[in-house]
Amino acid sequence: MDKDVSAPKRLLIIDDDRLSAKITEKKLCKQGYEVVVLNSASIFLESLKQKKPVEYDLILLDVMMPDISGIDALVEIRKHKNNLELPVIMVTSKEESEGIVEALKAGANDYITKPLNLEVALARIRTQLQVKELISLSLQSKQVSTINTMVTTLNHEINNPLAIAIGNLSICKHKPDNARIEKALKALDRITHIVKKIENITETKMEEVEYSDDTNMYKIK
């Protein structure tokens, strides 16, 4: 189910430094975000492993933590959610350049440094959330387009033989005719054949072609 786009974005801060986490939480809440703080990644990772729905739009993840390191937590997160589904911004001290590179290679979307520069943090958070939203809208649009194309395909591929079957059988109601019954049976066979193809459809067996000026259909190979 899609979240209400007007609802405040929900951020998760994972940082063992309670003070820094509290400061970040307060600053982001003032900016209208809903913020949850965890001092260790273990609870969140457990919920991911149990396939529970993720309630956060973005995670701010500290690089260096005692229990599970930020990098290890990130690697685990990326097994379940890619960087478009769940953006992760690493939080690091100025001196940790190696950690930043490692984190970006492991799938972090971006990083910010401590102590938090609010303007920089907000800009990076907003960018990641906007990209996430654009991707989500694009996927929805593609899904609608695919459904429309499939409906056109079904209309074309099934309605034609259906019309042949119905037409011939209607005539046979008044005057039995084996040749017409044969045509109707062939048309029904064709529908059965098309339905079976659709059941086993994969992308590689479909080719999108133009049906009319503003409509496409799938040519089923």
Partner: protein
């Protein structure tokens, strides 16, 4: 002053009420981290030394007390390099001056 007043006020948008609240969190948190750091120095557990010094450094950085931040960072580097000889002087700085920092911060916020 052990901390940079103008950077502190700028960082918190002049919100002394928020700073006052955070000083109390700092007062609890630093003691926990400093105790853990001392334990890990006694055990010569380099990874823990690096972690606890790193956490302490992060907390201190929020209040722009640069000398104390550098002291914590020096110990963090020692832990990272598995070479802790000479840590005592930096630990003494933290031990002695962190309570003084808290006092100064409280006084600043009135």
């Amino acid at each position: 002053m052990m901390f940079d007043e103008s950077k502190l006020m700028s960082h918190f948008d002049g919100d002394k009420e928020m700073i006052t609240e955070l000083i109390e969190v700092f007062d609890d948190s630093y003691k926990e981290s400093l105790t853990a750091l001392k334990d890990s120095l006694k055990e010569e557990d380099f990874k823990k030394i690096e972690l606890h010094a790193h956490t302490l450094k992060g907390m201190i950085a929020n209040f722009f007390a640069e000398d104390l931040r550098v002291a914590a960072y020096d110990i963090e580097k020692m832990g990272h390099n598995s070479e802790i000889s000479g840590y005592e002087s930096q630990l003494a700085v933290l031990d002695e001056k962190l309570p003084m920092l808290i006092t100064e911060l409280r006084s600043f916020c009135g």
